[in-house]
Amino acid sequence: MEKKKKLKISRIIFYLIIIGYALVALGPYIWTFITSLKPTSEVNNFSIDFSTLTFRNYKFLWNKFPFGRWFINSIIVAAIVSLGNILFNSLAGYALARINFPGRKALFLAVLSMMMVPGQIVMVPTFILLTKLGWVNTYKGLTIPFLTSLFGIFLMRQFFLSIPKSIEEAATIDGLGRFGTFFRIVLPMAKPALATQFIITFNGNWNSFLWPSLLARTSDMYTLPVGLNSFQGQYFQFWDQVMAGVMILSIPSIIIFLIFQRNFIKGISTSGIKG
């Protein structure tokens, strides 16, 4: 009886801790969201007057700033880069896992070694190259250099290694060529890995700041993070509007994650990226 009671108390404490951490994780969003609905005069108040909450700040941002444009830029960039990555990384990952061609081992070793090189090393020469190509401040500059990723190739290779070879052999016997087998048989089986890659790539590019802040020079080419950061300085006193901007930047990633999350954990465990 005594023991049971003790167990119950420890259970309650356990739940308090895990709920507490959920509040730590979600609290800043909740507060940001509430602030974004407040009038400017109420921003610094701890209390919430529900009768004054409106979506006025969102409308204001959308109308007064090129927020709509930044939003669309972000969507275009993240979508193009994600689609490119899904296709090209899968092709490369598949070849590294399954096709016996000379140079395969060396290429895989190159992928692994390049993963250790911090991307910032090539920042200066790549920027010079993009300037020479006239790609600075264009969608080309924001997307083309990022269409493949080492991590994505590694992820796809691990995944393709895990599927049984017999399925492809059957497809070959049925007369499908290499590309047919890949697109009609293998790729559809890779949905969890593709979903994982999509989430990682889409979010990575949606949130990307360093490169776009170099490549987007004029306000009409800004992506959302660059645009939001440009509010720094005099604008950072209108926190209600800034917080609406933070929500506009955050919500799409959260929605995409919620849509794909079931596949996401599955993708991570089947691709063996955990080591």
Binding site: P118, T148, R178
Partner: protein, 310 residues
């Protein structure tokens, strides 16, 4: 049987043709990646290496004609107090963030892997900060921590005077560290979770029959079985922390302040390369960063053995 023979005959008669096909297919499949890697990575890497021995400013025109200065950029770095400060800050950041976030991530993974109510909710809640832009996170934290912000208001309830957190040179870096841990612990949690789910249940069952308690099971089964996952997370987390940029940039409005207390290696590289246009120097900083990351990865590999797919 018949089928196999058929395949075998086909193979043997066309052995060179099949081989050729494999080669063509293989290279076609990797072609987009190879081109992209050559143009946007290997080529620039080679150029960066050469530039790191030159004194080159973007505004000067041709990098071919830029003066060769040998190791000067590297020597300059180690006598540049701001670079040393940036290096120190980055090391402190990494030493603080990596172990804290991995331990916290493992604890959270164990929690969301156990039999709790609302598992999906907790997994999602803990993961959401991971998917949010670091710019958004930094701005949110600036708002929460500002002098008349909600944190100070809350502390005020207990009689604490309002404080300007980000203007304090002792607190600015630790606050960025807290922010980073908060924002990325979910990623490592998910990877640990995937690792935990691969450990066969039978091991735990056998151990509990032998009378091992939960803690002993954790030490003798979970930790050894998770070793590759721990290694993977350690490497990714370390590489990530050494490349910290966004938070420091946003919090300090791009200058690493107050008094360089939030200056990091990558932020300094960015400033040297794109604000001051000392591009040769920026490239040298990049290579120093690479060497540091490479050495740390090798040390970890040695420490953890070769049993990983990394």
């Amino acid at each position: 049987m018949k089928l196999n023979m058929l395949k075998w005959r086909n193979k043997s008669s066309n052995i060179s043709l099949a081989k050729k096909r494999e080669m063509v297919d293989g290279w076609l499949f990797v072609l987009p990646f190879v081109i992209s890697a050559l143009v946007f990575f290997i080529g620039p890497l080679f150029v960066a290496f050469i530039l790191s021995f030159k004194e080159y400013s973007f505004l000067d025109g041709s990098m071919m004609n830029a003066p060769w200065v040998g190791l000067n950029n590297y020597i300059k770095a180690f006598s540049d107090p701001v670079f040393i400060k940036a290096l120190k800050n980055t090391a402190i950041y990494s030493i603080g963030v990596v172990p804290t976030q991995l331990i916290l991530a493992l604890a959270l993974a164990l929690v969301v892997d156990s039999k709790i109510k609302g598992k999906t909710f907790f997994r999602t809640a803990y993961y959401i900060p991971t998917i949010t832009s670091t710019v958004a996170v930094a701005i949110m934290f600036m708002f929460l921590f500002k002098s008349d912000g909600v944190l100070n208001k809350f502390l005020g309830l207990f009689g604490v005077n309002p404080y300007t957190w980000y203007d304090d040179i002792r607190l600015a870096l630790p606050l960025i560290m807290i922010m980073a841990i908060w924002a990325s612990v979910g990623l490592y949690m998910v990877i640990f979770l995937a690792g935990l789910q691969e450990i066969p249940n039978s091991l735990y069952e056998a151990a509990s029959i032998d009378g091992a308690n939960k803690w002993q099971q954790f030490i003798h089964i979970t930790v050894p079985m998770l070793k590759p996952t721990i290694f993977f997370n350690l490497v990714v987390s370390l590489i990530g922390t050494f490349q910290v940029f966004d938070q420091a940039y946003v919090i300090s409005d791009g200058n690493g302040g107050p008094l360089n207390s939030t200056m990091t290696v990558v932020l300094y590289l960015y400033k040297q390369g794109f604000d001051e246009f000392n591009m040769g120097y920026a490239c040298a900083i990049g290579f120093i960063l690479f060497v540091i990351i490479f050495i740390l990865t090798m040390i970890q590999k040695k420490f953890f053995g070769e049993e990983t797919s990394m």
